[in-house]
Amino acid sequence: MEPSADRDLTMPAGRVLGVILIALAIAALFNSEALVRAGEGMKPGRTRDIVLSVGRPLDDAAGFIGLHLPREGLDLAFGQEPKTAAGTELERGSNAILRQNRKKEVRQSFVQPTRAHPLRVLVTGDSQAEFLGQRLIDQGPSELLDVTTVARNGTGLTNPAFFNWEINARQEVETRDLDAVVMAIGDNDGFNVQTPDGSLYDPGDPGWETEFARRVAVVSSVLSSGGKRPVYWVPPPTARDPKFNRIFRIQNRAVERATRAVPALRYVDVYSTLGHGRYSDELTIDGKRVLARQPDGIHFTRDGAVAPARLILDAMAEDFPALRRR
């Protein structure tokens, strides 16, 4: 970086500090909603508490004096859709949605894919969805599948103030013409949850499992558009850290429970199927050992994602026999 010889491009450090502070104040005031959302998305801890304790009152004040308007205009200009809102069913609905649905006992039939009209599949969820989507493409009959992958990194069902999956699901089914949805989510769901009646449950409490099942039912109902298309729900696999496994087991049970209530919801059990429920960095796929997990001990590698992708295809083949693997 060569300073210009004929111009003074310098400022005293004190003035620079002034610029930094004013810029940060402007950004915090006009972006207060984003500040709160960023805090909501952080892992529980001191940093999150500080960000939220500063951000929430700032956001209230900024909203009160109309400072949200410029950001809303910019969101509109950039085509950004809101992913959070108050009063959705995800936060306020009732457990009635979990009542067993008799229709479930009769297998639904869906329009079958052909070469002329391949199955339009949305693979979505958290970061785990990325490689699953890629592998679904090369493991399935490519002429019968048209896969779109949209991974929403860092999201989950337990934190709708950060990312509301019910709202996102509505936007997805409204803007895309879909025949099936694969939902891979749960890696970021270690938070406590508040039920519509105001009770707060930690992971491990029986109430947490029920509330999680209710949220799965709400989101899958939206994604299936009331049974119009099947939704293949893929909760997390086994993790290296037993602490995560306790939560992942509960999530798997919750998803299984939700399938009894939502006719088009299918549970893809990666947790107990791969490695017989035991974690390993490697898997044997087609007789060849592969490094199946990323260093975090949760996410699949691109090579390892072949195994869960095949399980998803097997589940899909129950509804679409042409997808059966040969």
């Binding site: 003074d8 310098t10 450090a13 402007i26």
Partner: protein, 466 residues
């Protein structure tokens, strides 16, 4: 810690104040900036700091032995020992999984089977950068190009937070002399610094992430599902994305260091205006290029040992440069394409000394060779890379090809042609404004950049994985 985040903004505001307050007291400033850098680096995983400290201790010890020992053999042993340690670190953390997997495949291929456990090792962020920096330091001490420094100075040289994660790769004689002289708080190069930081944020959020989300990632995820026009846009789109992503990061790094009073070396100099591959490598990731030149190509013999060995040295340098990015055959092939193109250029220059392509044709060829190589850099495997290249000529509907995306690709190349003087004028104009105007302008760009990213947040920088 990642640059454009709330945590980093708070961190930097504190570091800025304390760093300038301590500038008149070097004995206090040094431990402070080192502690701040370790805090920054260990934010995700504090154990990474231990690796960094081990690297600093070993390289300081080796450089002190080199500086003090009268015996040439001892000096050489210290140099080799340090390099083996540095490369060993890199091999264990970056390449062990790859080598074990490849060995397992090879043993399997000849029917021997293998019982070697496949293990996934966490890659400490920035290890490729601080390792190369450490090697350059001990080699420079050995060559007598820099003085052996104290453990504190070496630790700061390696860990200085603006550059630790993704460069620029700083040489000892660029930063150590600055550490020895207190910075002048009355003359912070704020004009260039603000432009670099704000420009870096815009490049990353408005161009790189947008192109990745809307065209590059979907196409590379399934090239066969996209038309030729969409594949073509992704082909050029990734060239724009990686430039804006990586140069955006190093712009921010250089700008942040400038605000603290330190100048880091330039890392990009309008690379997509290059008229030859040789020219491209003088403009792209300049600190890595010169590292490879000074510590690999020239020690191999450079161009001094005949034509055949020159081509060999070019190929070795570029292949290892590819492998430096990651343990994957796609990176090796990326390096191979550049090595082949550089060799071909050299051959043409020597065989037809008077021949020169018109500038527009030279630019077109250079830019497209670079873009073809980027396909292998971006693709997760060779199959996908060839599918992208094979998909360039296909027809079909192209809903992903939109005017704003084409504009972003064109703009990311065209902006490199803006004369430097114009930027200097803009910097001078900004510096002459009142503080409030400057603050509001910078704040407004941050708000707009955050709106461009939306609720999905800033994607990780591509070079974080290296």
């Amino acid at each position: 810690m990642v640059f454009p985040t709330i945590e980093f903004a708070a961190f930097f505001a504190v570091v800025f104040v304390v760093s300038w307050a301590l500038q008149p007291h070097p004995s206090a400033w040094r431990p402070f900036i080192l502690a701040a850098s370790y805090f920054f680096y260990g934010w995700v995983d504090w154990r990474w700091v231990l690796i960094l400290i081990a690297s600093s201790v070993v390289n300081t010890f080796a450089s002190q032995v080199i500086a003090r020992s009268p015996s040439a053999a001892t000096r050489k042993r210290a140099l080799v020992g340090a390099i083996v340690f540095d490369l060993g670190l890199l091999c264990v953390f970056k390449y062990l999984s790859f080598f074990v997997t490849q060995t397992d495949d090879a043993l399997d291929g000849i029917g021997l089977g293998s019982t070697v456990p496949l293990v996934q090792i966490v890659l400490p962020i920035g290890i490729s950068f601080f390792t190369f920096q450490a090697i350059s330091y001990v080699v420079d001490v050995y060559r007598g190009e820099t003085r052996a420094a104290s453990l504190m100075d070496v630790a700061i040289l390696q860990a200085f937070f603006p550059h630790i994660v993704a460069g620029p790769i700083v040489r000892a004689n660029e930063l150590l002399p600055q550490l020895r002289t207190p910075r002048d708080p009355r003359a912070v190069l704020a004009g260039p610094a603000i432009f670099l930081i704000v420009g870096g944020i815009v490049k990353k959020t408005v161009i790189a992430d947008e192109l990745a989300r809307r065209i590059v990632d979907p196409v590379y995820s399934d090239p066969s599902a996209h038309s030729g026009a969409e594949v073509l846009l992704a082909f050029y789109g990734f060239a724009a994305q990686i430039y804006c992503d990586f140069s955006g990061y190093t712009d921010m790094a250089i700008g942040l260091a400038l605000l603290l009073g330190y100048q880091l070396p330039q890392n990009f100099n309008r690379p997509y205006l290059a008229l030859s591959l040789q020219d491209f490598w003088r403009r792209w990731h300049m600190t890595l290029s010169r590292w490879l030149r000074d510590y690999l190509y020239i020690p191999l013999g450079g161009s001094r040992k005949g034509r055949a060995k020159t081509y060999r040295n070019i190929m070795i340098t570029m292949l290892l440069g590819g492998l430096w990015h990651g343990a994957s055959w796609t990176f090796v092939l990326w390096g191979g394409i550049h090595g082949t193109a550089l060799s071909a250029e050299r051959f043409a220059r020597e065989r037809f000394p008077g021949f020169r392509l018109p500038a527009w044709a030279a630019w077109l060829v250079t830019f497209n060779v670079v873009c073809v190589a980027w396909v292998f850099f971006r693709a997760p495997d060779l199959h996908t890379a060839f599918a992208v290249l094979g998909g360039l000529g296909l027809g079909g509907p192209s809903p992903l090809v939109t005017l704003p995306l084409v504009f972003l690709v064109v703009a990311s190349v065209a902006i490199q042609a803006v004369p430097r003087e114009w930027w200097r004028d803009a910097e001078a104009w900004l510096v002459a404004r009142p503080v409030a105007v400057q603050g509001i302008a910078v704040g407004a760009v941050i708000v707009a950049a955050d709106a461009a990213v939306g609720q999905q947040g800033v994607a990780p920088f591509i070079y974080y994985q290296f």
